[in-house]
Subunit: 290 residues, 2 copies
């Protein structure tokens, strides 16, 4: 394993397996060919062309479009084509999160290949022995990546809540970090990637934060999503990321970004430039850019 | 002006104006069409094809290739096609700096469109009023961007010197920063861009460093390249970058990267993702990546 291997693992997809999902001339996502075929059952709603799928039957307006797509995803859920709903609403956007054209259930986002936005926070301590990082172990009952290692705090960004409020909420739920402390978190970068998954395509964006914690602070999980926390030296974190697959796939990228920004991965690493550039994938640039 | 405007200004070039410069099947650079035409005077050395220029007459070996290209650039200098020499040798590489296939004079690099590597250091102070940054004013006699604002320390990376040694040397020459203090500089990122210039193409890479300086420290220039230093609040630096063109073109990008990493530009900025992604240009990725 290497740092670049993790970046490549988060950017593994074949464009020929997907068709752009278009609305009003904008690309909102990418549909796997087999999933696009399922949409042929509604020829009045979706026009499946050789190089794209056009949502021709979309009503006007944010609310009406949300309801219309919900009707489609409910039907696909009943047919067993969509596996489950998550319950949180995500924006479907041709670009930034704020440019949502309608909402979609979080669990349905990959089927339509729409960008999901999240927040990941590195919790670290400056000690006499150097930087230490808090690492979380995911609970055994998590639907994805059970028992894998995770960032101290990480969560999706549902529609209708601001970045600061959502981070505060996640800090409370996941690690019992008081709001006053959570508010000291510094937004430091964004990592984007594009990955083929069992449900479809994930062209996702993670807003990254650093929170320097006092040496005496100990996180406690309050929502059942975390089974344990560890305070490791940054060297141990670096080696675990570099040499293993113990971390949830995309958390590796957040930590690699941390290691670069703190000079732990330095420019004498022959992979330095591909690492720095690889943390922001080009497709996400098209999809989540302007 | 905006942050993105500066990023776009450093990534302005038209691929149809340039031809790949090939050696042994590797692309080493990009030649402006008019410059490629000048190479037709040596048909035994360079084969100018519709979609590329192949260096067919290259001898074997690093030293011999360096000497052969030097012969060509000397002739072009005498013909007035190349304006001047700089005196420092840069690697000509299909990828990383260490993969140099031969050397070229620093001033000739843009004519051949080969990547130039440099180091830029943000010098900053944490004070009771927040972060302050040291800003340099370039001397009136600098060949490029005289009297523009600059990073506290910035310099090219000649062949044959390591990153730490070169940064220490630049810190001494440009700001009289003692080696023990310079060694505390943290490598934090790399910024790449690709820009059309009067001499040719600049697909360049800047390794970025942060050095936190004690409040009492004052830089002094020792090599005549800087006419003044200012200690500004990070807000003043941010506004100057965002709203003006007072900084040397590529220094804007180094400061924008600093502002992102320190949370001064935050994800509520609608341009956040294009900014973060735009600091690492795709062409430099092809040219400087693996």
């Amino acid at each position: 394993m290497s740092f670049l291997d993790h970046i490549h693992a988060c950017n593994r997809w074949d464009p020929t397996d997907f068709l752009p999902f278009m609305l009003d001339g904008e690309r909102l996502g990418m549909l796997r060919l087999a999933f696009a075929d399922e949409l042929r059952q509604w020829p009045d709603r979706f026009r499946v062309e050789p190089d794209r799928v056009v949502w021709v039957g979309a009503p006007d307006g944010f609310e009406a479009r949300t309801a219309a797509l919900r009707e489609t995803t409910d039907a696909l859920l009943q047919q067993g084509i969509i596996s489950h709903l998550h319950g949180e609403q995500y924006p479907v956007t041709p670009g930034c999160r704020r440019d949502g054209r309608l909402l979609i259930d979080r669990a349905c986002a990959p089927y339509f290949g729409v960008s999901a936005f999240g927040q990941h926070m590195n919790g670290f301590v400056r000690s006499a022995e150097g930087i230490k990082m808090w690492v979380a172990r995911r609970s055994a009952d998590r639907r994805v990546f059970p028992l894998y290692l995770d960032n101290l705090v990480a969560g999706g960004l549902p529609w209708g809540i601001g970045l600061a409020d959502n981070l505060r909420k996640e800090c409370t739920e996941e690690a019992d970090i008081p709001a006053a402390l959570a508010d000291r978190a510094v937004p430091v970068s964004a990592v984007s990637y594009c990955c083929d998954s069992s449900r479809g395509l994930k062209p996702d964006v993670m807003y990254c934060y650093d929170l320097e914690l006092p040496e005496g602070f100990e996180p406690h999980n309050t929502d059942g999503e975390v089974s344990a926390f560890y305070l490791w030296s940054v060297q141990q974190v670096m080696e675990t990321v570099r040499d293993s697959s113990e971390f949830k796939l995309n958390c590796n990228l957040v930590i690699i970004d941390f290691l670069v920004r703190h000079g732990i991965i330095d420019p004498d690493d022959p992979d330095y430039l591909p690492i720095v550039q690889g943390l922001r994938s080009p497709l996400a640039k098209i999809n989540s850019g302007q």
